[in-house]
Each structure stands twice: as C-alpha cells, then as structure tokens.
Symmetry: C2
Subunit: 118 residues, 2 copies
DNA sequence: TGCGTGCTCGACAGGTCGTAGTACTACGCT
DNA sequence: AGCGTAGTACTACGACCTGTCGAGCACGCA
C-alpha cells in the first residue's frame, strides 16, 4: 500500500474528519497552523489522488477532494499488511493480542464474536 | 518505528529465520541469489544495527549480527503502530477483525481468551 | 480588461535505500 | 619478513519519495 508522509497524513486527517468533500483552498485553511503556500496543498492533494487515497470531483473550476476509503479501513489494511509480512501469522497475532490494552481486547473479542454469529 | 527497504527486509528475514547470530559473510552467502558485493551486505547490516533492528557482537575480527527483536514482535508492533494512527480505535479494530480470515480469527480469539484468564 | 482563483508542470532540497569502491588493519601461511 | 585474505570503516552516487514552491496558463466577474 505504501505509507504516507507527514504532511500527507495531516491532510488525510483533515479530510477524514470531514464529512463533505473539500477544495484545496478549504483544506489549506484548515491546516492554517503550518502556513503553506496554496500550491503546496494542491500538490499534495494531487499526489494523494494519484496514489489512490483520494477521489476528486469537479466543482466549477475547482476540484473537491474526498477520501477514497475511511480511516478505519486504511488502518485495518495497514494492520493486515503488517500481518502479511510474517511467516508465522499465528505467533504475530498472539503477540498483537497481548499488546492490545484491556478495553481494546474487549472490543476485539466482541467483533470476533459477532463474526462468528454470521 | 520506520519501515524497512526491500533488501533490508530480505536480510532481516534471513536473520529472523536463523537461531544463531551470523557474520556479514554468512548472510551474504545465504542471500546468494542476488549476487551482492560483500560491502553491500555489510552496509545494510550496519544500517539495520544503527536503526536498532539488529544487535552485533564481536567474534574475532568479525561482527556477528542477530535480530534485536523477533519478527513477531516487530509485526505486532507495526500493527499496534497502525492502530495508533486512528482516532477511533474501536472502529479500526472492528474492521481489522472483519478482515482477518476465519482460522486467524480463531487464533485471535484464543489468544484473547488466554489473556482474560490471566 | 485586469485581478483573483484555481489548475498543471516543473523544480529543488533533504532523506532513505540499494549498491558498491577504497583505504586501512590484523592474521596466518610460506 | 612478507603477502594474500578477511574484515572493517568511510565515502559515494543514483533513484525515488516527500515537503515545499514558483511560473505560467485559463476563466469569470467587476
């Protein structure tokens, strides 16, 4: 899948947090703390689109960008990808389970139980 | 944590598969399919050591390299790191659980159950 | 008809990674 | 005593990624 850079992730975070598709200008405004040139934002949005993390649709002259997938889907995919790296998936999964905090273990358990029911 | 490159991963794979610590020469021999210069292998081993993925100890004039952590630990850490990226860990975990294959779900369930018992 | 908005292209610097040459050192065999 | 060999450290370089922009082009409104 390929990881994201610092700025790329910031921008994805903004878009993931938003329900509507945003223009480059709007993203730039929301990321104001970094005082970036507008073209910088555009370039990164472009790259993210080319990498498949965003979809864009026309809105007049401007593009509106929206995430191609939810952040959860992305995170889950990263996790599965990491898992694919090992030969012994069972050992890695066991380790992982041990590393998850108590409440999260509970969440996982529940999710797995629901799976079972289907 | 930071990901590994192609060759770096190959070398880690070799060392992870080995129970004993290896010298650069030995690693080079095991990775023979790629016909690398000995210095290439040394350089990469060096970088991996500097990044904390390997430990090395003297053996005469040579160094012996061994993984600092097991592959499973590494994979589990990658997974936890991915998980840290999200705001809604519960959603990501649920997604993840759904993405895991049946037998693996079983393994996870068992690992979580054991956790519970402790 | 000119400014603002937005786009596309191209660029450059800094970092990482694959790949390797060079130069220096210590050791054993002849 | 001297040479070949194994091994090290240091340096390098090109490719690619990422952050960061500037230049230049297009379009619509005042």
């Amino acid at each position: 899948m390929k990881g994201l850079g610092e700025l790329e992730r910031s921008i994805m975070d903004i878009l993931w947090a938003q329900s509507a598709a945003l223009t480059a200008r709007e993203v730039g405004r929301l990321i104001a703390d970094r005082d970036l040139a507008p073209t910088t934002v555009m370039t990164v949005l472009d790259r993210l689109t080319r990498k498949g993390f965003l979809h864009r649709t026309r809105d007049g002259r401007a593009w509106r960008y929206a995430p191609a997938a939810s952040r959860d889907a992305y995170v889950a995919e990263l996790m599965l990808e990491a898992l694919d790296m090992t030969g012994d998936r069972s050992a890695a999964l066991t380790r992982f389970a041990q590393g998850v905090s108590g409440p999260e273990a509970e969440i996982l358990r529940r999710a797995l139980t629901e799976l079972e029911d289907e």
